[in-house]
Amino acid sequence: MKTSLLLLFTIVLFFTAAGFAQLSIPYQDYTLDNGLRVILHEDHTLPSVSVNTWYHVGSGSEKPGRTGFAHLFEHLMFEGSGNVPEGKFDEWLEAAGGNNNGSTNGDRTNYWEDAPSNALELAIFLEADRMGHLLETMSPSKVDGQRDVVKNERRQSYENRPYGMSEILLQENLFPPRHPYHWPTIGSMEDLSAASYDDVVAFFRTYYAPNNASVVIAGDIDPVQTMELVKKWFGPIPAGEPVPPIEAPPAFLASEKRLTMEDKVQLPRLYMCWLTPPAYMPGDAEMDILGGVLTSGKNSRLYKRLVYDMQIAQDVGAYQSSEALGSTFSIIVTAKSGHTLGEIEKVVQEEIDRLKRTPPDSRELARIVNGYESGVLSRLQRIGGFGGKADLLNAYYTKTGNPDYLNEDFSRYTAISPNDITAATRTFLKDDGRVILSVVPEGRRELASPPEGGSK
């Protein structure tokens, strides 16, 4: 356990000589005998608490033929457990004034319960009961029920959404077939249909053990009493076997791939994607800032040229999506009516090439980094939910081993120079190692980049 002298403060903040915030989220941490890591953070501003649990398993651990399973499993975690009848997880929490949610990505699955401070034990109990006793009431009919819900989530978020299938197509083409990021977290309809009760049992036993999880409890808590409750409810859960490591074949794009997809859309959209360094590795923060230089704010390079000056695009975004096993950098542009994706791509390429030759000026970087600083301060107002302090401590613990990694994280950005951006652009935004996808209205392949012959 480590205890900070600054534990009494909600956050710790001072400013460096350069004027940047120095940030810290004070915490205590413990490891139970069964391997569960527990992290506590006090914030008595409001009478609220958050119990935030990360299991270190995501869709990257799925087996071929069972894509979408980690996320389907996440849904089943809310359907009751040994001492919580079906439906009561939500009812009991709501009756106490609480809320909950969970989410899954390639690397991890997280859950939170936000509740008034008098319901702390209820939240701990609900989370512990499903960690220890999920299978006692699991049934094929529960699996069927959530299978239908998840299929509707896939319809709503992908199939029935304009451009919704592009993300799935891009992942397939960016990562090689056996790579954990080759398939989408939502899974395929066929694989969701195939998921069985037996799969649930095996997945739970392999991954949902205390030694593969971390719990952050934040808010209006007494650390000593909270640890007693944690030991009472989580302590008796037996440790599981060590979790098998993920085997990821190398992901490398040796050439440029060009794809065209027709969709029920009015306007064509261009996606340009590259493989980039994993979260927190050298180059990750540079790509994050590059995304801002290209598309954050009216003066960003691509926004200014495509949307503001030339007015040939309706919107533009550039993002580094940081993941544990390898990240993706994407530039996404929706063309205005009457314009082709070839016109758009030409401008994007000019701006990439320009950044490869000449570093951005320091004011461009300052705009981005100053905006991040405000964003960090803003997020520190919240204890719970996705992205609040409890989730942040757990994210940093899971990804770096240090729950209070906030300052190290932010310092990565303040340390970056204009030359670093140019170097990273040259290294990672290769013309001969990328995926370019044109999404065009049905029958309008001539709008793709490069154009393809007229209607089918």
Binding site: G87, A95, G97, N118, D148, V149, N160, L267, Q311, S337
Partner: protein
């Protein structure tokens, strides 16, 4: 860093947002099961009372200090908003607000954006149904530097003609894109059906092709001059500041602001929906049907405010609510179903909604009506207490961030709520009785007199819907709802 939440979430993020509410499940199933954890009483919530200040020209200022994080939010809110859009100029309030971000105080659009982005803050303008305004969000250390920009946007917007052309083109393009969006189509048609095109609540506040093309710089200047006046404004301040500092700062930038109070006519509700008509918008190939069922609801200042919130929480305002339990958890028809009241100065809509898979559209409609009928019968004690607690005990989280606090203060001002409103809210919610819930349901949820909107694949769903015999079916195309997609010249 600070990476976006990039996973799939269990609950659709939009579904229960802004709906305070809670739950119930099938009373018929296991109503008696109680949690093995006994809760002590909730900690008392004592919120600071808002401080009322005045600038030397009489502008009202409402302040709530919050010293958790060195951030400040200042909002200037003026009354009016889209409800003041003149005939044929729908969308003018919104366009005026958008154009305030396109240059002010001698800085052109790009120079202005660069100046505030460099401070790491944001200054954004907005128009709502009954209000408009400008929001400043900035680290405390940059407040002094940002104030001049903020005042420029409020008082000295330049409305450059070239930027207006650009924004008109962007809006027309958005109208084109709405043709792809089942939710946008359903929403536009729902409002039009309830309120009619002559009513502010019945039209899309973005405007239509004709009105968007008609906007002139003169229109914007006149709308700005009329509504952004000191006697029509309230300044809301939340964050790491105190009354003395705030008054001095605001007086410096806004103390000489002059102007007349505009006349703001009341918005009155049109006749209530009568009968039950089904409006089926064909979207061939759609994997889901987007459903909206509803009628005109109730105004924000109603004495039934608390009872309608608790009643709606039971019906469709939380994850464990009846609609979500039925359509999602028991039947698997959808990723999420819910209902809500939109409270405004005049009666906004009540609506129940979900996106359901195409081949169960008829069954889903049946379950919607089963629940809309069932809420007209007494709820259980367990449901009532769960819903009251869910709404009341979650209330502290409304005061967690300065942005949410500013939103609460804006509501207080807009609807003339008393200063002790925050500290009496929890008690008022917990006092709602079973009889009040029943009365609210019977008064506001009338399943025989509702508009039913379905946007989906007509060839696959029409027969099933017809067989339900719910009411007359009106078949519409997307163009019937939105008009034909605008044809616009691209680029400069």
């Amino acid at each position: 860093m600070i990476h976006r939440m990039n996973g799939l979430s269990r609950i659709p993020v939009f579904l229960f947002v802004c709906i305070l509410a809670a739950t119930m499940g099938p009373v018929r199933a296991f109503a008696q099961d109680e949690s093995p954890i006994k809760l002590g009483p909730p900690a008392p919530l004592k919120l600071p009372t808002p401080e009322h200040l005045k600038l030397r020209n009489g502008v009202d200022v409402v302040l709530m200090e919050n010293h958790k994080v060195p951030l400040v939010q200042i909002e200037i809110m003026v009354r009016g908003g889209s409800s003041l859009d003149p005939a044929g100029k729908t969308g003018l309030a919104g366009m005026t607000a958008d154009m305030m971000e396109e240059g002010a105080g001698g800085r052109n659009s790009l120079e202005f954006a660069d100046a505030i982005d460099f401070l790491g803050g944001s200054i954004s303008s907005y128009a709502g149904m009954h209000s408009a305004g400008v929001n400043l969000f900035v680290p405390l250390s940059k407040l002094d530097s940002a104030m001049g920009l903020f005042a420029d946007m409020v008082l000295r917007p330049m409305f450059p003609p070239a930027e207006l052309d650009r924004l008109k083109n962007e809006r027309l393009t958005t109208l084109i894109q709405w043709h792809d969006e089942p939710r946008a189509i359903a929403s536009v048609l729902f409002n039009k059906t309830l309120y009619g095109e002559g009513h502010p609540y019945g039209v899309a506040t973005m405007g239509d092709e004709k009105s968007i093309r008609s906007f002139t710089v003169g229109d914007l200047r006149a709308f700005h001059a009329k509504t952004f006046t000191p006697s029509n404004a309230t300044i809301i301040v939340v964050g790491d500041v105190n009354a003395d500092a705030v008054t001095g700062l605001l007086d410096r930038y806004f103390g000489d602001w002059r102007g007349e109070r505009p006349e703001i006519p009341e918005v009155n509700p049109p006749p209530q929906v009568s009968g039950r008509d089904i409006y089926l918008v064909d979207k061939p190939g759609a994997a889901q049907s987007e459903i909206r069922i509803g009628r005109i609801g109730v105004e924000r200042t109603t004495p039934d405010y608390y009872s309608t919130i608790v009643m709606n929480t039971i019906l469709g305002g939380s994850f464990a609510s009846r609609l979500n339990q039925n359509l999602r958890e028991r039947n698997g028809y959808t990723y999420g179903a819910g209902s809500r009241f939109l409270y405004r100065l005049s009666a906004g809509p009540f609506l129940a909604s979900a996106a359901v898979q195409t081949d169960v559209t008829d069954k889903a409609l049946t379950e919607f009506f089963n629940e809309l009928n069932a809420i007209g019968r007494p709820v259980s004690d367990e449901e009532l207490s769960r819903a009251r607690n869910y709404v009341a005990l979650d209330y502290p989280n409304s005061f967690e961030t300065i942005s949410r606090i500013a939103g609460e203060l804006a509501e207080l001002i807009m609807y003339g709520l008393p200063d002790d409103y925050f500290n009496t809210y929890v008690g008022n919610v917990l006092a709602v009785s079973k009889e009040q819930v029943l009365a609210a349901a019977n008064r506001y949820i009338d399943p025989s007199n509702v508009a039913v909107i379905v946007v989906g694949d007509r060839a696959k769903i029409e027969a099933g819907i017809t067989a339900l015999g719910l009411g007359t079916i009106h078949n519409l195309s997307i163009d019937d709802v939105l008009g034909p997609a605008p044809v616009i010249d691209g680029g400069k």
